[in-house]
């Protein structure tokens, strides 16, 4: 309770003086805030199996910000990198290091979905604006969605659902699916099955292999005896290479065409050699996309890093673009969180993958491309489904 004080001459004078002093002081901290660095936290793997993904995401993100003058809303940027080692057990600690320790203004990353779960959980509690630049776990923009959590990559569901109708359209009514028995495998195969069954297809058998086992011979014999119209698969890295080679060597590719999630044929084709030819996949990007933004991007990335661009670099680039866009909207004022998030939500990015906007659960709405491996490249056959939006089931914001 405050008691109203009677105005006196003296009080008036001192109040006026105080106001004057405050007014004269005001511009100083404001200017200070404008030149203080924006801290962007990056939690990505720089060692281990996923190191190359981490480097591509980081380099492309910085490239996007440098392309916009190297500042965010006029303020210089400090990048704080932490090696996630793609280790979910260390994820909570690492995220805390960036949020509580470094007090970053933005948090970006990671590659691994297990790391993403831990990171997003903390980001939700702390309210740090977070941009997931790869991990595709559906839950990030479903059950775990939050106003301060955005994703510039994809949801697992999104990349595989469009393949179902596509395979039925090609006359493959009975399919066998095969993947590793782990979360990403379940989500990808589940999404495919959802689209496939809805379009009138029938999944004869779902083969699940313990992760990260790669001895497929027994399962290939089983597929041969089931004689489906087609096979849909998801493996990545070494498993993908091995599966493509074994499928080909078992003579199955000639009689039973192979379809897959896009990551089957991304970064694996050099190792797979001729065994990769003819495999059809769906993904939100392909290096060979002919739009001018992609041409500019792939050339610039190659010039900057000496490495060819890939889907991971694109996601990093768009993370950078989203930061540039949002910070421009608030003229560099990181305290204006509400406005930053509103700007992000409304963003329409000119991505190398095509135009990209955000769904209510803050996952990209993007075209999913149909690609076929020809001469060791993912050649775009067309758009499998335009403007695919993750249903965001279980997200309170939809």
């Amino acid at each position: 309770m405050t008691t109203r004080k009677t105005p006196t001459r003296r009080r008036f004078l001192s109040a006026a003086a105080g106001a004057g002093a405050a007014a004269s002081l005001l511009p100083a901290p404001f200017v200070l805030a404008q030149t203080a660095k924006v801290k962007v936290g990056i939690l990505l793997p720089y060692t281990g199996t996923y190191a190359s993904l981490g480097h591509n995401i980081t380099d492309a993100m910085i490239m996007a910000i440098e392309g916009a003058g190297g500042t965010l809303g006029g303020r210089p940027v400090e990048y704080v990198k932490v090696d996630s080692e793609a280790d979910p057990a260390k994820a909570a600690n690492n995220a805390n290091k960036l949020i509580a320790g470094e007090k970053v203004d933005f948090l970006t990353g990671p590659v691994h979905s297990g790391v993403a779960m831990a990171m997003v959980k903390i980001a939700r509690e702390e309210g740090t604006i977070t941009i997931v630049s790869n991990a595709g776990a559906d839950a990030v923009t479903r059950q775990m969605c939050a106003p301060n959590v955005f994703r510039t990559s994809f949801s697992n569901w999104q990349t595989c659902y469009p393949m179902g109708p596509e395979m039925v359209k090609r006359g493959h009514k009975k399919a066998v699916s095969i993947t590793w028995n782990y979360a990403a495998g379940h989500e990808m195969i589940g999404a495919f099955k959802e689209g496939y069954v809805k379009a009138g297809g029938q999944v004869a058998k779902e083969i699940l292999i313990p992760f990260p086992n790669i001895e497929f011979q027994a399962h290939l014999t089983e597929i041969a005896s089931l004689k489906p119209d087609a096979v849909f698969t998801f493996f990545s890295g070494g498993g993908a290479v091995k599966f493509m080679k074994d499928y080909d060597a078992a003579g199955l590719k000639k009689s039973i065409p192979l379809f897959g999630a896009g990551f089957l044929t991304d970064g694996t084709l050099q190792a797979a050699g001729p065994a990769g030819e003819g495999i059809i996949t769906t993904l939100h990007y392909a290096e060979s996309l002919a739009n001018p933004t992609n041409k500019r991007f792939t050339a610039a990335f190659k010039a900057k890093t000496g490495r060819p661009a890939d889907v991971f670099a694109v996601q990093g680039y768009d993370t950078g673009q989203l930061l540039v866009h949002a910070m421009k909207a608030v003229k560099g004022d990181v305290k204006a969180k509400k406005e930053i998030m509103a700007a992000m939500r409304a963003a329409k990015l000119d991505s190398p993958r095509g135009t990209m906007t955000f769904s209510k659960s803050q996952n990209p709405i993007q075209d999913i491309y149909l690609r076929e491996v020809k001469n060791g490249d993912n050649v775009v056959l067309g758009v499998a489904q335009k403007a695919v939006e993750d249903p965001g089931r279980g997200c309170g914001m939809t």
Partner: protein, 290 residues
Amino acid sequence: MDVSSFLVQSLNSVQYGFLLFLVASGLTLIFGILGVINLAHGSFFMIGAYLAHWLALKTGNLFVAIALALPLSFLLGLAVERLAIGFLYARDHLYQVLLTYGLILIFNELQRILWGNDVHGVPVPALLSASIPLTEAQSYPLYRFFISIACIGVAAAMYVVIHRTKLGMLIRAGAANREMVELLGFGVKRLYALVFALGAALTAFAGMLSAPVNSVYPGMGEHILIISFVVVVIGGLGSIQGAFVGAMLIGFVDTFGKVFLPEAASLSVYAFMAAVLLWRPQGLFGARPA
């Protein structure tokens, strides 16, 4: 399951069993003679695969690559024995486990520095790149037959060496009673070095052979290490015969487990191992503990 699928699955089992035998025989040999638990055994498998990949890339021929890589891995085995393992014969198994685990880390890091973390494929030699049609839908890669034949060749050679030569006699004697061989004045030190290097080369050879079908990737050694320990434990530590039977059994259990009990596929080999150990704690061909 129809008859043709059953036969093809049996073929898969035998083929997998042969490869496991090659890896496990080196492991069991080293344990049987040297009494060393070698966790770095899988690393030699990985090194063999990477050498095959690298030399095949340089020479353009997998067979030439294997011919070059075999002596290299033998020499590497000698070096590792001289610089590390040699100090541990008299020590407790715990020291051996620690040291050889350290070797795994070193080899993995070397692999990362030398060849990077990408997955590499090794092309099947043109001579063996064909497939033989088995059923109307499935054919069998000729190269997989070649692996089996090569493994049979090595197994036969090992049998002859162990049962028909003086070196084999020393190896058998060393396995039965190390101290006695030493007391009789045989150069145990050199025998040990030789056995360790042979075991390393055998495993590396398995890695080279399987490089074209398995592809080459970081961490490939750890997976094979665990399964070869299962084989050796089932067969009985130190027994070559046991390693052979164990490898074949695991080949069948693994293959048919995947088909009939897909939900428990990763469990089947371990459940089988547990069952065997309950029945015979020393393994099928293991010496009864005194």
